[in-house]
Assembly symmetry: C2
Homo-oligomer: 193 residues x 2
């Protein structure tokens, strides 16, 4: 068992000891909203948005992008589990701003030896072989955070499975301060008609 | 501004006040691992797995399923940001066990008036019109949690962009107790060769 697994299971043991009445929480989010945000390790939605267990759905991927998989999750969130307001939250200093489709496709093809992480002294695990498959993926990188929040809110708003009367709010989380900064153009684009 | 937005921003204000030195955290996850889990409101990975800001990537969607968007995120996670171990964590009492592709497609088509959430006395927002688009989506519902964890670990393991030497661990989070229960067949399928 790796040290990481040991750490996670040990932290989980402590959590279980203080779990108390949380075993009776019901499945639908009590506060009836959902947050889409980035997988970034510095973002802890339960802390920066004040969520207790049972409050809200949290959907996360690289960039907090409104992919088809996110639309799938949001439609399930409102349709079967009752959420009625959604937040799209990207953040400053995002990894998705540091590369583009071509860069990652080339990294994956060149037997994985030249990854950016080498700057930190980390070895790249590689798999011995490069793969061209990265060229067939849209990586959803970001050039401008305000623009990406706006685009993602618009994409969700315009999806045929998303009802008109769910407001969608656009924000950027500032990694330097922990503060949520509204992207007013995005919230405007996501408003209820 | 809705009450929910007010609540979130007010909680965020409190968080900012105690943010301290967290503004200096670097982009790559310090503990070099990633968790894939469900968007379910009862699951708070930072608490059940003991994660502080900066520790680990957290990827979440409906079911914690290994969709293409998750593969995109995991490949970025290891290739550009240095994670070296991954957890796939589904959970008991998951909403994804309560319907199937046909049920949600029909709900979306029948002008959204008969959703399951009506049992809780909630009105369905609908949008006045049904849509057939739900029939074209694979919703990734779950029949058996152990089986879905195994399948998802296998799908990630077998992806050509995933290196052979990243171990993938399979777990089910028990919503009644908060405990992480290993799915040993999945961890076995995700082991380093």
């Amino acid at each position: 068992m790796s040290n990481i697994v040991k750490e996670v299971l040990s932290a989980n043991e402590e959590y279980v000891k203080k779990f108390d009445g949380k075993g009776n929480l019901s499945m639908p989010p009590q506060k009836r909203f959902a947050i889409l945000t980035c997988m970034d390790a510095r973002l802890v939605p339960s802390k920066f948005a004040g969520l207790a267990e049972g409050d809200a759905h949290v959907i996360r991927n690289a960039g907090g992008r409104a992919s088809d998989d996110v639309i799938r999750s949001l439609v399930i969130s409102y349709k079967l589990l009752g959420t009625r307001e959604w937040f799209v939250i990207h953040h400053s200093d995002c990894g998705m701003e540091t590369f583009n489709n071509e860069i990652i496709a080339n990294l994956l093809q060149s037997s994985l030896k030249t990854a950016k992480i080498d700057e930190n002294g980390w070895s790249d695990p590689g798999n011995g072989n490069g793969t061209a498959d990265g060229k067939f993926v849209e990586w959803l990188t970001i050039k401008n955070q305000k623009q990406s929040v706006l685009e993602d809110v618009q994409r969700i708003r315009n999806n045929s499975m998303v009802p008109n009367n769910i407001p969608i709010y656009g924000y950027i989380y500032d990694c330097k301060t922990g503060k949520l900064l509204e992207v007013s153009e995005a919230t405007e684009a996501g408003k209820v008609e």
